[in-house]
């Protein structure tokens, strides 16, 4: 196995507040290979955004306690000085965000905002940077890119703004693109276009993509690997097939059951009961235990380890493998 592009080791991001310490990310470990697409799935507050904002160095170090390692191409980003980190940000790791309506600065022209990023990392003329911005807009399928580059964000539709964000993010050919819920704020048809665009550009640029989403449906066809996060930890990880056809953790089952599926004649979707736990007062034992329909005594006392099942597939659960396989076959995948 080659050296991974990104290796996160036992990352903890804690925010001290007046009410207590918010454990947004609590012992997170994973790795990504160059060119791979990793899907990170979880509810709001599961720590998926915070962990990648930490990778970008966008968590204010004054308001957070960050422990662990984020090794990117062998360098630890957590220990890195701000100036060095800034050179990586944008150039080697780029990020696009959930809401394209507010992610671009309303006062500056789209082309200038892309050029600004190129100019922050490369010593070229403004004219060259602008030409490259236009070229990037063309590559993300924005019609009349030359004219569009001279327009302001408010003259773009939501989907076009997200394309412009993608154009900006890829303009320096980064090794890693972090896409934080890139389609959540968009129409379903536009969602598919944006995801296909990310797919296509990923193979063109050979960029690794971390696709953060709360929608298991989104990551299915776009990701090599998927990791499911809950309360700041990974509770299950594996290939897309593992997660869809052999899920081994009750939380993943809950996510799957809350998805509409073609061919299943269900009147209602089944939501996961309860609310995500307070990240200040995490339950003892398994953090999903208060909401888990299969909970038993051990779950409330001992936190389950992330144990391998086969290959890359691993899950945190005290239920025996046989029980879980039976539940999956009878309740989760069986047509109702």
């Amino acid at each position: 196995m080659p050296e991974p592009l990104l290796e996160v080791k036992d990352l903890r991001v804690h925010f001290p507040t007046e009410d207590g310490v918010v454990k947004a990310v609590d012992g997170l470990s994973f790795s990504m290979q160059a060119g791979e697409t990793l899907g990170i799935v979880g509810e709001s507050g599961s720590g998926k955004s915070v962990s990648f904002l930490t990778v970008m160095g966008l968590i204010n170090k004054k308001s957070a306690i960050i422990e662990g390692q984020v090794l990117f191409q062998g360098q630890d980003l957590v220990q890195m000085a701000n100036d060095e980190l800034r050179e990586i940000r944008g150039a080697k790791i780029a990020m696009i965000f959930q809401d394209p309506m507010t992610s671009l600065h309303p006062f500056y022209k789209v082309g200038d905002q892309i050029s600004e990023m190129i100019l922050a990392h490369e010593d070229i003329s403004k004219k060259e940077a602008f030409d490259r911005s236009v070229e990037m807009l063309r590559r993300v399928n924005i019609p009349q890119p030359k004219e569009r580059a001279r327009q302001y964000p408010h003259e773009f539709s939501g989907g076009m703004r997200q394309r412009a964000m993608i154009a900006m993010a890829l303009s320096l050919n980064p090794d890693l693109l972090i896409a934080d819920e890139p389609t959540t704020a968009l129409d379903v048809t536009v969602q598919a276009q944006i995801l296909d665009l990310i797919d296509r550009l990923q193979s063109e640029f050979n960029t690794a993509v971390a696709l953060i989403t709360h929608d298991l449906g989104v990551v299915a066809e776009h990701c090599h690997h998927i990791q499911v996060m809950y309360a700041g930890k990974i509770v299950e990880e594996g290939t897309a097939d593992d997660i869809y056809y052999r899920p081994m953790m009750p939380y993943t089952w809950g996510l799957l059951r809350s998805l509409p599926r073609l061919g299943h004649d269900t009147d209602r979707l089944t939501p996961i009961a309860g609310a995500p736990p307070s990240l200040i007062f995490l339950p003892d034992g398994c953090s999903f235990s208060p909401r888990c329909p299969y909970v038993f005594d051990e779950c409330r006392a001992i936190e389950p380890e992330l144990l391998p099942i086969d290959g890359h597939h691993a899950a945190r659960c005290h239920l025996s493998l046989e029980d879980r396989e039976r539940i999956v076959a009878q309740e989760i995948l069986a047509p109702s």
Binding site: M56, L58, N82, R86, E87, I88, R89, G90, A91, A94, M95, F97, D99, T102, S103, L104, H105, P106, F107, E116, M117, A120, H121, Y152, H154, M165, M168
Partner: protein, 321 residues
């Protein structure tokens, strides 16, 4: 753009007409006595009263007087353009008086504005960039104190300390710049600062909260994600969006002050519009009151127009249609 400006100017003229109309109405509907009797002084004869009424146009009903006032303002009168008539008290043409008064008030207002913009906005920015630190908390605490400090308290206090006790400054009164930069500056510095204190405190709090809100916007996160230096993130992305709303407030504040800073001018004995207002109201000098009202309204209306046009250049989302 041009159509928009023309439409705005027409509206502005309508506003001015209404403002002066209301001034006339209030003055004549209030039981203030016959202005001619007051103007005539001690030796009143029917002939004298009649002559005064003719001279000041008081023989007409009040709405005709209003129309005459407008006619003279637009077309000029025997004292030139704009025709502002005579003061009822001093019986001299108001035109010259008003412009020399505006000059004094403008020096006061612009000087104070420079002080409060420099102090207020820089304190606001520094506080916003280091929120909830000791420096931020003490700055905002001082700002609350300053906002609650009225000019009629601060002015005499400052005069007592820096003039009477320490003797650093030459006291009250107006020195035109033609008498030398030094005396001009030492006479102005105290009124500027005293008038600016309240505004500086207000602007500090305003720019702090605006900038803090802007710095938590998504596009600031994008700017950081682009790998820009923090300096560039703050200066080019934060301040540009965070301080633009202050243009609106500033335009109106400055315009209101140009219409006369009554208390500051009275305390520091500055012959500006504010002092003239006090005299005119005390002497029921209708014509002067009407002219001052018109001047103040013109400042506010023009400032509004400038702010709105300026905004279209500062914020591309604003469009005229």
């Amino acid at each position: 753009m041009l159509r928009y400006i023309i439409r705005r100017i027409l509206w502005a003229i309508l506003v001015l007409l209404i403002v002066v109309f209301i001034t006339y109405m209030i003055f004549f509907l209030l039981p203030s006595g016959d202005p001619a009797v007051r103007l005539a002084g001690k030796n009143q004869t029917p002939q004298l009263l009649e002559q005064i009424r003719l001279q000041f146009g008081l023989n007409h009903p009040w709405y005709i007087q209003y129309l005459l006032f407008l006619k003279h303002a637009v077309l000029g009168d025997q004292y030139g353009w704009p025709g502002l008539g005579l003061s009822f008290i001093s019986k001299v043409p108001l035109k010259g008086i008003i412009f020399s008064r505006i000059a004094v008030t403008a020096q006061l207002a612009v000087g104070a504005a420079i002080v409060w913009l420099l102090v207020g906005i820089s304190v606001g920015i520094l506080s916003a960039l280091r929120p909830h630190t000791v420096a931020d908390r003490s700055a905002m605490g001082i700002a609350v104190l300053a906002i609650s400090m009225p000019v009629f308290f601060l002015g005499p206090l400052a005069l007592y300390i820096f003039w009477f006790k320490l003797g650093w400054l030459p006291g009250t009164g107006y020195k035109p710049i033609s008498e030398g930069i030094g005396p001009w500056f030492t006479h102005w510095i105290l009124p500027w600062i005293v008038l600016a204190v309240l505004y500086a405190a207000f602007y500090a709090r305003l720019s702090r909260s605006n900038l803090m809100e802007t710095m938590s916007e998504d596009y600031i996160r994008t700017a950081r994600a682009k790998g820009l230096t923090e300096k560039r993130v703050v200066l080019r992305h934060g301040l540009r969006a965070g301080l633009t709303p202050i243009v609106t407030v500033f335009g109106l504040d400055l315009a209101a002050l140009l219409g006369g800073a009554i208390i500051t001018e009275s305390i520091f004995n500055l012959p500006g519009i504010g002092q003239l207002t006090v005299q005119a109201v005390g002497g029921q000098d209708l014509n002067t009151i009407a002219v001052i009202t018109l001047v103040a309204a013109v400042f506010v209306v023009v400032a509004n127009l400038i702010v709105d046009i300026l905004y279209a250049f500062l914020d591309p989302r604003v469009r005229f249609d």
